[in-house]
Amino acid sequence: MRIAWEEYPASASFDELIGPGGAPRPAATALIEFLSALGPEELATRQKAADVAIRGMGITFTVYHEEGGSIDRAWPLDIIPRVIALDEWRRIEAGLQQRAQALNMFIDDIYHEQRIVRDGVFPRSYLADSANFRSQCVGIHPPQHIWAHICGSDLVRGADGTVYVLEDNLRVPSGVSYMLENRQVVKRVFPEVFEAAGILPVDDYPSQLFDLLRALAPAGVDQPEVVVLTPGIYNSAYFEHSYLAHQMGCELAEGRDLVVGDDDIVYMRTIVGWQRVDVIYRRVDDLFLDPEVFRSDSTLGVRGLMRAWRAGNVALANAPGAGVADDKLVYTFVPAMIRYYLDQDAILPNVPSFLCADGQQCEHVLANLATLVVKPANESGGYGMLMGPKSTEGERKQFAELIRHNPRNYIAQPVISLSTTPTLVEGGIEPRHLDLRPFILSGRDVQVTTGGLTRVAMRKGSLVVNSSQGGGSKDTWIVDTSADNAFARS
């Protein structure tokens, strides 16, 4: 039996694979054809095979529960890929490179001369109230002036097809391992599609990351010792920390494995004694990084790490303090930063945003809570938000109070009707909303992953894609339709 695409419901949202009138979009034509030929039963069988593969490969993420502690769950993957045409992707890629460049210049500026503040582009008061500004980082010169070496930016597509940047994650963004693993699994279950080529590979990331990290080593170190620093097995992204250490062939260390000596050098405890560590890809938040400087009760960090970093004896990626730009209020200034530092127009637009910190805009937000999305400036994972159209009177009241109490901490945006894509659900294929998180590596040059991690809201009509809240994921295909490859044209 073939899949009846004509029954695939059209909606007001933009669909990534199926165009208006039910015809597949050009880059997705061959995929849709392939899926149709498989038929619904075979598709369900392949989904089962993918689920078994994921369980067997132990691709997991950890969720916390009030009772029962943390639970290791199988990673949810929907096998129908999300497709982006290569020419569109090139433009997105350029937009992300531009953005990462401007963000790094902003952070470096903020911890030094603060020209952007002096020139009146970024208000001083916003900086003073920033939860992620670290005064301990002022005046420090990280190698190559890069602070956010790894950035994960979330992209969404609106009803008219415009791709917006929703947020930039500059602290310890996660998800890249799932992007890589999704591809492994989908290659296992759809081998015949990959034979026909046209889908760009994704697996170069770990070596790019490793090269970037090695290049950060203090001067004079030929064979730098690079380690990944993890908070440990109970962290929700432990799988990824372990995965990246494995792929890069470096040690996966916990805070208790490392020590900073009186010489301000970092050592790790090994079976042959203490060994010097030169570069740390840290997946521990700033505030837990060094009990000597930040939270004194942290057991995840390394006492003295900031001393070693300041002395230039160890490189940290991302640099402490990089999160100052990972703030939804700072986010609203990114297009202005691009203009200020690079003298360019932003290639990728922001979602239009209202700053509650601005009196006039705040009044507008308070008057329109029922139609807006309100977001706290410093939360991640989709927590602490108000979805206006779905909120109750009580919730709106509560948020109005929160906003009045601390306007600096909130921004508001119109609801973007996220684009959809065909997704396997109980009883067939239905549209589900999704976003995309590409990863941007900033070193001597700026590299963007080919595609990124597509996250999909598995509940009908839901816009929440976070895996901690029931979201799923998809393999993301960047498809070359222009080149003469059989798959895209067949």
Binding site: G56, H246, E251, Y267, M268, I271, V272
Partner: protein
């Protein structure tokens, strides 16, 4: 290699080996029970003795029947020595060190863990037991093969090999101790008659040693011969001496291992020079007791030198680093 990682690998190997040994033990005990007349049967109680945790068992179970014993050893998550606990711990550790495990190894451990968790009940029913335990043994053999076949020689493999062989020597010595005691204090030789051979064959089989014994010794199966084979044989991989020799080979490659090497080779020589034919039952038990104490000390010494020993103050950095270079030179000499 990080001390914490070495520690983890060592214990992962021990738990995996324990999983396999328990599967083997239950399987062969079940077979043995069927071969012996009721009045001569050692019953299931010795299995609890071999695997330890006798008082825990007594707290939870009322009899030493087949069902209760097998369930306790295979499927009881509260028994720290059960198969389920062992594979769950091995898997939990594998999760923490999976960055250095080849993917296939992690997948195999993960699948074995899922399999034992879902099918452990099959060990209680006679009809399904053989298939279940066989699959567990095969899966652990596959893992041992992977360590040999796709793992770089180096520190990681060294600690895995140490863990496996120390656990193995420990289990072999326990089995010999408990079975030999049961046989020598149980029914007299006259009563046992032809069944004595059957019993000793069972002991060999629980360690997959029957065929190897026949091939190696070319003599009939008898008590002292089996004890000597299982403790002192140089070539049977589950014999204590063979396990200790393999541990020694690995220790030669590790730095700072001199005290460990001395201890292990002392153990090995002691077994080698013992005349098992002339040992009385009590003497054998004492001998094995000393062996077990020495194995436990080896374990502690390993921890002191490699796993936690480096928590010395940083003033010690210079000498330790110097020593490390020595260690590397030493390695070169040995491999050269």
């Amino acid at each position: 290699m990080l001390s914490r990682v070495a520690d983890n690998l060592y214990w992962m190997a021990r738990y995996l080996e324990r999983t396999e040994n328990l599967a083997r033990l239950v399987d062969v005990s079940a077979g043995l029970m069927l071969d012996l007349p009721q009045r001569l049967s050692p019953g299931w109680q010795p299995l609890i003795k071999i695997t330890g945790n006798e008082s825990l068992y007594a707290e939870h179970e009322r009899d030493y029947g087949e069902k209760s014993v097998v369930k306790f050893i295979v499927a009881n998550g509260k028994n720290p020595g059960s198969m389920l606990t062992s594979i769950a711990r091995a898997r939990e550790i594998a999760r923490t060190v999976r960055d250095i495990l080849p993917r296939e190894v992690w997948e195999q451990i993960n699948e074995l863990y899922l399999y034992v968790g879902e099918h452990a009940a099959e060990a209680s029913a006679r009809r399904t037991r053989y298939g279940f335990l066989g699959r567990v043994t095969t899966a652990t053999h596959a893992l041992t093969g992977m360590f040999e076949g796709i793992f770089n020689e180096g520190d990681a493999l060294s600690f895995l090999t140490l863990g496996r062989n120390i656990e193995r020597a420990d289990m072999t010595s326990r089995i010999v101790d408990v079975r030999a005691a049961a046989m020598m204090t149980g029914p007299s030789a006259a009563e046992l008659g032809p069944f004595e051979t059957v019993l000793w064959m069972g002991v060999l089989r629980s360690l997959s040693g029957y065929q190897m014994y026949r091939l190696k010794t070319r003599e009939r199966v008898y008590g002292a011969g089996v004890v000597r084979f299982l403790l002192a044989d140089e070539q049977f991989p589950r014999a204590c001496v063979c396990c200790l020799r393999r541990a020694e080979e690995v220790l030669h490659r590790l730095p700072n291992s001199e005290p460990l090497l001395r201890r292990v080779s002392r153990m090995r020589r002691a077994i080698h020079h013992t005349r098992f034919e002339s040992l009385q039952q009590g003497e054998l038990h004492e001998f094995i007791d000393r062996l077990q104490v020495s194995l436990a000390r080896t374990n502690d010494e390993l921890a002191r030198i490699y796993f936690i020993g480096h928590s010395a103050p940083l003033a010690d950095i210079a000498p330790i680093m110097a020593y490390q270079n020595q260690g590397q030179n030493q390695n070169k000499q040995i491999s050269a």
